[in-house]
């Protein structure tokens, strides 16, 4: 999705990140490589980003340019493999960014 966003608008101010839960470090290598550039941030017991944000597994949290939360989409309910869901999330991000 990030590549598509930047291909359509190289000046886009939309950025995507993944936050991998602590204890799942072994899943990183199979999920990277092959030209994949999505930043995966590895959580740890010391930082506890999941707990700080009080998220659930597969939450996609959308944040505006000032750090204010715009909403949460759980991708278990909204599978991005479904083109309609994908398009809707993309539209959501573009709406939020005014792009």
């Amino acid at each position: 999705m990030q590549k598509e966003i930047l291909a359509a608008n190289p000046a886009s101010r939309i950025r995507l990140f993944a936050v991998n839960d602590q204890g799942y470090e072994s899943g990183v290598p199979p999920s990277t490589g092959n030209g994949r550039t999505l930043p995966i941030l590895q959580d740890s017991a010391e930082v506890g980003a999941w707990g700080l944000w009080t998220v659930e597994y597969r939450d996609l949290v959308l944040v505006d340019g000032e750090g204010t939360g715009l909403g949460t989409i759980n991708l278990t309910s909204h599978d991005l493999q479904d083109p309609a869901e994908y398009d809707e999330v993309l539209a959501f991000l573009r709406l939020a960014a005014g792009e």
Binding site: R13, I14, R15, L16, F17, A18, V19, N20, D21, G23, Y24, G27, V28, P30, T32, R36, T37, L38, P39, I40, L41, Q42, D43, V47, G48, A49, W50, L52, W53, T54, V55, E56, Y57, R58, D59, L60, V61, L62, V63, D64, G65, E66, G67, T68, G69, L70, G71, T72, I73, N74, S77, H78, E85, E88, V89, A91, F92, L93, L95, A97
Partner: protein, 220 residues
């Protein structure tokens, strides 16, 4: 419910549930209790009898949105509170609390979009709707009787619904953010070898000016 389905992104609490989605009415338990009471011996005095029958009629109508619940709930509370002192508790009280929470959920979801509604005019309309809802919610908190509280909750819901409509605002109908205010900050290492920030710590606070999406996953 963690995520509302989408219209852009489906569930609109104030609109009918999307096709295939089943919205559970907050008044279902009250409806079941009223139907059970109607199946038994009806009250002899005229007014309780009439109020029970009327409540049954109101509750028999389809309720496919929060506004439907708020509209029916207001009437049912008025009828049952004046004629059946406590007989439909805790169902009636639980329904009112759930409706209150639903309206505040909708208010929070909409307020996050002020500034992102698609222009100053739309932003202003959304903000005005949120402000109107807040005033009614404040009055609802101070309401002396439950049917008045239900009436004010309905007005708050209407204000939010109108704000969406007047702004022609197809806001993504998602859950509110999991935190209040500014995102709690952290710094975590980027472990994607081909990422531009590989090996460095990345923080939400570094992303000022960017709309960001943070996907919380468990890679396997």
């Amino acid at each position: 419910m963690r995520i509302a389905p989408c219209a852009l992104l489906a569930l609109v609490l104030l609109s009918p549930a999307s096709p295939g989605a089943v919205r559970v009415s907050r008044l279902d338990a009250v409806q079941a209790a009223v139907e059970e009471r109607l199946a038994g011996e009806l009250p002899e005095p005229r007014r309780p009898r009439r109020d029970l029958l009327r409540a049954g009629e109101v509750l028999a109508a389809p309720r496919v949105s929060l506004l439907d619940d708020l509209t029916s709930g207001r009437t049912v509370l008025r009828l049952l509170d004046r004629s059946f002192d406590g007989e439909f508790e805790p169902d009636l009280g639980d329904a009112l609390e759930a409706l209150d929470a639903d309206v505040r959920f909708e208010r929070d979801a909409l307020s996050g979009w002020v500034g992102h509604a698609g222009g100053a005019a739309k932003d202003a309309r959304v903000q005005a709707g949120v402000d109107a809802a807040d005033r009614r919610l404040d009055r609802a908190d101070a309401a002396a009787v439950r049917c008045e509280r239900a009436r004010l909750l309905r007005l708050a819901g209407l204000a939010l619904s109108r704000a969406r409509s007047e702004a022609a605002f197809r806001a993504p109908d998602v859950d509110p953010a999991p935190y209040a205010g500014t995102a709690p900050d952290f710094a975590l290492p980027d472990v994607t070898p081909d990422s531009a920030t590989f090996g460095t710590d990345v923080s939400p606070s570094d992303q000022a000016g960017f709309v960001t999406a943070w996907y919380y996953t468990r890679l396997t």
